[in-house]
């Protein structure tokens, strides 16, 4: 029977109240959002906070807002809300694709985007998605708000720039005309963490050439985007040949570990194949939003 070590529990009533509680209870206090990463860790005694500050009453952080050129996502937005949002599907199908394969529908009822990004598990899907979309993390603490790029936010496996007395408040995703995006994951069974996954976002110019392209990988030992692919893709008309080149670069850039989910060569193969697939889909989705552009076959 897995039971967490003893702790004291308090429910925050607002963002300011949560920040004050983090400040008051200090280093051994931790916020709990959906609890679907933290509670399993507490049950295994891998985490033993003295104080648990429940932020589930912070409905003020549960929102999706198209605000001019950005989509603003409150940190307490649940996976299910992201999956079911028409705005998200229209603007960033990569998020919808990823949400479809994150855990299972019941876990998705609880887990939040804020908890996912702050957990920073190497197999966590939304981190890759946010890297690929050039998202900005809004972090609030006693000294006010900071805006962090994903590269600044995400420091490595299980490590972020969010200090003990700070909260992730919001994720801002820039909206770009003529863009398409996609995510694909290989998992051992429904609801499992990725063996490997890839995400891509592509922007097409009016002449059908790629003006911006970003690829990211999940669970294969790469904490950043596959920046190598940009030089190959930008300025070119999308073709299968180009996707294959990008796939090869992704396979070379990643650094997977052999584990119960598979050996290294298999994961490298997935990095290659999934990169091709997400680029293919992202380009065709981008083309659908740019008149007169069709993607060539072969």
């Amino acid at each position: 029977m897995q039971i967490p070590a003893p702790f004291d529990y308090v429910r925050a009533s607002s963002v300011d109240n949560a920040l004050a509680l983090l400040d008051r209870h200090g280093a051994e206090s931790r916020v709990v959002a959906g609890g679907h990463s933290l509670l399993p860790m507490m049950k295994l005694r891998l985490a033993r906070p003295d104080w648990l500050i429940d932020i589930n009453d912070l409905y003020e952080l549960d929102y999706l807002l198209v605000d001019g050129p950005v989509l603003r996502i409150g940190a307490m937005t649940r996976h299910t809300t992201l999956l079911e949002s028409d705005d998200v599907r229209r603007l960033f199908p990569i998020i919808t694709d990823a949400e479809h394969v994150i855990a299972d529908p019941i876990v998705r009822n609880r887990g939040t985007i804020g908890g996912s990004l702050c957990q920073a598990d190497p197999a966590e899907d939304l981190s890759t998605v946010c890297h690929v979309l050039d998202a900005v993390a809004v972090v609030r603490g006693p000294a006010g708000e900071r805006m962090l790029s994903m590269a600044e936010f995400h420091r490595g496996p299980y490590e972020t720039a969010v200090a003990q007395n700070e909260l992730l408040i919001e994720v801002r995703v820039p909206i770009r005309a003529g863009s398409g995006s996609a995510y694909e994951k290989v998992e051992r069974r429904v609801g499992d963490w990725a063996v490997a996954a890839a995400g891509a976002s592509v922007t097409l110019a009016a002449d059908g050439t790629i003006s911006k392209a970003t690829v990211g990988l999940t669970a294969v030992g790469l904490d950043r985007n596959v920046t190598e692919v940009e030089a190959v893709l930008v300025g070119q008309v999308p073709t299968e040949q180009l996707f294959a080149e990008a796939g090869q670069l992704a396979a070379d850039a990643c650094d997977p570990l052999a584990d119960q989910r598979g050996p290294i060569d298999y994961k490298r193969h997935l990095a290659d194949e999934l990169t091709r697939r997400v680029l293919r889909v992202a380009c065709s989705r981008a083309a659908a939003s740019v008149p007169d552009v069709t993607i060539q076959e072969g």
Partner: protein, 171 residues
């Protein structure tokens, strides 16, 4: 600490340790043992209960987090002596064998039908994809939930037998 919640329509207040998980609160403190406890790792879904109408895995929710909320367990599905159509469906279509996964499956089914009264078989499969059944192979569970969708008011006891025979012949 003291917590209060509405469980199957009844208000309860109890003194608990903050680290008590909702599944143990329901089973051990409230003695509602219809909610099962299986993997303990958020994978099997036998511990599913409805929290404010939404299925959650109660082994991964603190009882303290349910303070002030409304919980429905399998004991709260029937209305007096009348079984919920989902429960009837599981009888009609043989949706269970050992019954271990059944409480969680039925609560997820109830929430699905409340949200989407006419689900496609694929939508049913997706809804229960976070739950494991080691007996049935799932096909009869999907059919049970379909039965409930087709009989939103349930069925009168005397008509169910003939209907189910008909259904089996055509299935």
């Amino acid at each position: 600490m003291q917590i209060s919640m509405t469980i199957n329509g009844t208000d309860v207040t109890r003194e608990i340790e903050p680290r008590v998980l909702l599944v143990h609160f329901i089973r051990d403190d409230l003695r509602l043992t219809g909610t099962h406890w299986g993997c303990d790792t958020t994978n099997c879904g036998t511990c599913v209960v409805l929290m404010d109408g939404q299925p959650v895995k109660s082994c991964t929710v603190l009882a303290a987090m349910a303070d002030g909320h409304t919980i429905t367990t399998v004991e709260g599905l029937a209305h007096g002596a009348t079984l919920d159509p989902v429960q009837q469906g599981f009888m009609e279509e043989h949706g269970l064998q050992c019954g271990f996964c059944t409480p969680g499956m039925m609560l997820t089914a109830r929430a699905l039908l409340d949200h989407n009264p006419h689900p496609e078989p694929l939508e049913i499969r997706e809804a229960i994809s976070g739950q494991i059944c080691r007996c049935t192979g799932y096909a009869t569970i999907v059919r049970s939930i379909q039965w409930a969708a087709e009989h939103p008011a349930g069925a009168a006891p005397e008509t169910t037998t003939s209907e189910s025979t008909e259904h089996e012949v055509h299935a």
